[in-house]
Amino acid sequence: MRRGTLPLALLLALAAFFFVRGRWANEKQPQHNPKDYALVEPSPITPWREPAHDLAALFLPATNYVLESRIVTGLTVEIRKQLGRLMHPDENPFRIHRVQHEGQTLGAILITRVKAEHGGIEIVMGVETNGTIRGVLVQSQREPPTVAGAITNASWLAGFAGKNAKSSLRIGVDLPDVPAEARSSAQSIANSVRDQLIVLSFAEMPVEARERAQTHH
């Protein structure tokens, strides 16, 4: 064999392998439920609109934050089981804003968008390093005044504090009650908060635990 032929052959074989692997992997991807997704495009990544304001409200001594993107592709099946639904495109990679105070991590901020009765609601969540909620804020919504008043009410949002991924978040039971017309949007927020905590718990898994979860699957 001539010099140089072997490396070229290896390179081509490697490219062919990844190409075929990619195709097969795509074929194995679960299909989205047409009922849920065919009518609307996936929602774009939710921006964090007022970081300074939210940091002051949720992590007062914070000096800065660092954005991390965690790829949770290998844990998709486990996460789906826990969520009871398919993952949204903005949940993988999962974006975590690490909040710091003089180099020490205080917790994380998660931003998400949820479908509510009259439009999308954007939520900002502050999460402690142990995975419990420090606070929840609504950064954008387009609900009528009664509903908006209920879901942006500080005392209602304070009900989330101390909850974790395993907590039940039923309106009127685990969280303060809201007027009947706001219940649907409030439950959407609660479900979304729970879902974010679940994905966060997987995204924060140490490498060994991740591997165990994947092997188990």
Partner: protein
């Protein structure tokens, strides 16, 4: 000669393969850019012709600014009275006159705004690119709304959902969601014209009127008549198209500069490959010269190697462009101003040929020095130094 050239190229498969890949990538980029420029111009022209809008009536002010704002669904500071619409419709040269009212309502954070476009049903005749992703094609009552693709994705709305605007305190029902068309329609909230006028306290006012004439040749005759409508001015689509193409020209120059850099890099790669080949094959070339090969033959041999390499690269690049072109088109549509709805990429035989010729010229130029150096080898000195 061709067999010799082929054999020489196959002797260093990795090096020549990588050079080939570089040329192919540069060639693919060039083909896509040329095809994109041709496609954009053609599609824009056909879209404007298809829509049949020959002119727009806008309030007094800078006509180009006004027409560009209207076409991009931006609001205007001034407005036209509804009787201007009546006057336009009564003009003997006018076939379709579609009135519209645009308004922006700032969101509560003050950094964003909802962009409302009030339309009359005649607008459908002038918006052939409108395709519904889902739902109804038009409003069934005054409280229905049609959302652009981005607006629907942001608010996670599907037909039948409620849509509330806290700023204007009004609830709508989503009638339909538009297919993404790469235009400013993607972010807009479309509502019936009368609803928009009432919502923004603009009863009897319009932002613009799109006009299709019975015969495009009547533009010169109709424009002066319509210009006489008080507070209004006419902008023809020919003038607007010139503005868009100038805008595209600036983008195209920038992208062509990037393509030029990739071509130069691939030319240097060819140059490097050939020069390395000449240095490695000094003895061989000297022997060729010693057994009777002329300088011209050695020169031609090296140039042929370069041409074959670049020609293969151009072929591979054309295949890549055909394969990846549609994906690049989707990407380009997101940043090109006022991207028309149709295909922006027109890869014609002519554009392929033009790009192949350019790449061949670059290959030939890159081969000159290595070929000259090879042809200048002195057999006695070269073999002795080996």
């Amino acid at each position: 000669m061709l067999t010799l050239v082929l054999r020489n190229l196959l002797r260093r498969p990795l090096r020549n393969g990588l050079t080939l890949a570089g040329i192919a990538a540069a060639s693919a980029v060039l083909v896509c850019i040329v095809a994109f420029g041709d496609g954009y111009r053609g599609t824009l022209r056909s879209e404007l012709e298809r829509s049949g809008v020959q002119m727009m009536l806008v309030p007094l002010g800078c006509p180009y600014d006004a027409a560009a704002r209207v076409l991009q669904n931006n609001t205007l500071e001034h407005s036209l009275p509804t009787n201007a619409w009546e006057q336009v419709r009564q003009d003997p040269a006018v076939a379709v006159a579609a009135p519209m009212l645009m308004a922006a309502s700032p969101r509560h954070d003050g950094r964003r705004a909802d962009l409302w476009v009030g339309l009359d049903e005649t607008a459908l005749k002038l918006k052939p690119w409108w395709k519904m992703r889902s739902g109804h094609h038009w409003f069934r009552n005054t409280n229905e709304i049609i959302l652009g693709a981005d607006a629907a994705a942001l608010e996670i709305r599907v037909p039948g959902d409620k849509f509330y605007s806290p700023e204007v305190r009004r609830e709508f029902r989503v009638a339909g969601v538009l297919e993404r068309n790469g235009m400013s329609d993607d972010n807009a909230l479309f509502i019936p014209l009368a609803t928009a006028q009432q919502m923004f306290g603009q009863e009897g006012r319009l932002t613009a009127i799109s006009i299709r004439l019975k015969d495009p040749a009547l533009v010169r005759e109709a424009a002066p008549r319509l210009q006489k409508i008080p507070g209004a001015q006419v902008v023809t689509m020919t003038e607007m198209m010139g503005t868009f193409l100038n805008l595209l020209g600036a983008v195209r120059t920038l992208v062509l500069a990037v393509a030029a850099i990739t071509i130069v890099v691939s030319a240097l790669s060819v140059f490097n490959t050939l020069l390395a080949g000449v240095i490695e094959r000094t003895t061989e070339l000297a022997v060729m010269r010693a057994i009777g090969a002329s300088r011209a033959q050695v020169f031609l041999l090296l140039v042929s190697e370069s041409l074959l390499l670049t020609l293969s690269g151009a072929g591979l690049g054309a295949a890549l462009a055909l394969l990846l072109g549609p994906r690049m088109e989707a990407l380009a549509k997101t940043w090109v101003p006022l991207a028309p709805g149709g295909s922006l990429l027109t890869i014609s035989a002519e554009s392929l040929l033009r790009c192949a010729l350019l790449v061949l010229c670059v290959g030939a130029l890159a081969a000159i020095y290595p070929a000259w150096r090879a042809s200048r080898l002195q057999p006695a000195i070269a073999t002795k130094s080996e």
